[in-house]
Amino acid sequence: MYFDLMAKISATEKVSGVERVAVTFTGIAVVFLVLLILIIFVGCFGKIFDKSKKNNSASNGGGVSAPAVSKPATETKSTPMSFACEEDEVVAVISAVIAQMSAADGKTYKIKSVKRRTTTAGGRPIWAAEGIRQNTNPF
């Protein structure tokens, strides 16, 4: 498109002052133009997909003759189960640590309840934050 606006500069000749400015501004303008078109395009189809996703979830939630999809159904079933397993493992680990403490100081402890504390670091659960920190630390 800029071919019409600007003639080609000879590769083997030195660049004049006007040509320097022209190349710089043409270059920046074309790069921004192309990427702006991409922003608009990607933004538009992102919105369309979001909308269709919301419509799908709304229709599923409302129970209005939503088509039965086997995959998500198994996912929703399996999630609480695995979560429960993780919870049991966490309780087992806490019990083991307390038993170890008990053996070390000779006192007897009784676990009345195990409650999740909502400790956060930067808006994330503390273990999630620690996981991300470890994964990004080597950089």
């Binding site: 920046i28 921004f32 395009f41």
Partner: protein, 418 residues
Amino acid sequence: MSEFINLFLDTLKEIWQTSGFYALFQGDGWKSIVMLLISFVFMYLAIAKQFEPLLLLPIAFGMFLTNLPIINIEDAMYHPELFDYVYEYAADGSVIDHYIDYGRVLKEGGLLDILYLGVKLGIYPPIIFLGIGTMTDFAPLIANPRSFLLGAAAQGGIFFTFIGAAVLGFTAAEAGSIAIIGGADGPTAIYVSTKLLSGGDFKISTGTIALAAYTYMALVPVIQPPIMKALTTKKERAIKMATLRSVSKTEKLIFPVAVTLIVALIVPSAAPLVGMLMLGNILKESGVCSRLVDTAQNALMNIITIFLGVSVGATTKADKILNLEFAKVIALGVVAFALGTACGLLLGKLMCKLSGGKINPLIGSAGVSAVPMAARVSQKVGAQTDPTNFLLMHAMGPNVAGVIGSAVAAGVLLSVIG
């Protein structure tokens, strides 16, 4: 007896005078010594400091091989004279055409001459882009398309450096080749300089550009942080960005086709790079070409990286490199990098202000391609201010946008300079 001794001594003298050791201390032999020492430094940086070792080590070894003084020219692995242009003249003495005699290269060339054909013909960089495409996840960019702006802004380094190079007296092709170093994208720099510097005989070569580009890419973690800290406040660096939305598979499939379509129609010169990048990406996202993806991102990428590195290193012959022009390229290269980083950061600051403090300006510096090094630097500098701040995924958006942006900028330079 004396005849025997004379014959023996003459033979020894002959062997000494045809050896590389003798050549090292004759005429410009000192230049070869300097280049050999530079190659050792690069090998050290690649192995001990792990600065882009996959590329720097083959480049350094190619540099080592090409600068070993060899008296018998036929034994050399790289012959730069084979790539000199053959000119055809009209009856009035004007040049009708000029070309490289590739038949002669195939007939008389050494191993590195043959490998260098992939650089000279512009084959390796697009194939590397294919491999990069299979390894790139554009989801952060699709989720936050505004990242494209940061990728575009960082290309300012390319065009502002063009002015600097032109002021220093370089021709248009040389200035364009130097400026593209600011894109912080090795394959793009090689592709553009090969194309631009094929129009005649120039003071700089593709090897010079590649050497500067890869050296600065390796030094991204050193060059960028001081600029990032100087141009942002502590408060800005501590900004935490909202989690990105999830991107559907359909969006990921439409993206490479749309980008190729738009870029190739507007800047056709960028089509080989962007087209191959997006081919690699659609192979990956399709999920049905796992064998091709595996080959492109492993075997093919590794083979081309070795060929590219060694042959580019081989172009750094002492007599072509050790001159004032090389020093100027090195100086302008760092200016290009710094300007690209600064442009990205400044637009990041502007977007931060306009969004009411929702965008951390540090992600702007990742707009200078150098995937994923520049994004890692954004993450690192952000985490230095607040260890619980995770900018990596946010910075990957501008980072991959920078790859597309530098390919578009390359297309512009190739179109404007003829």
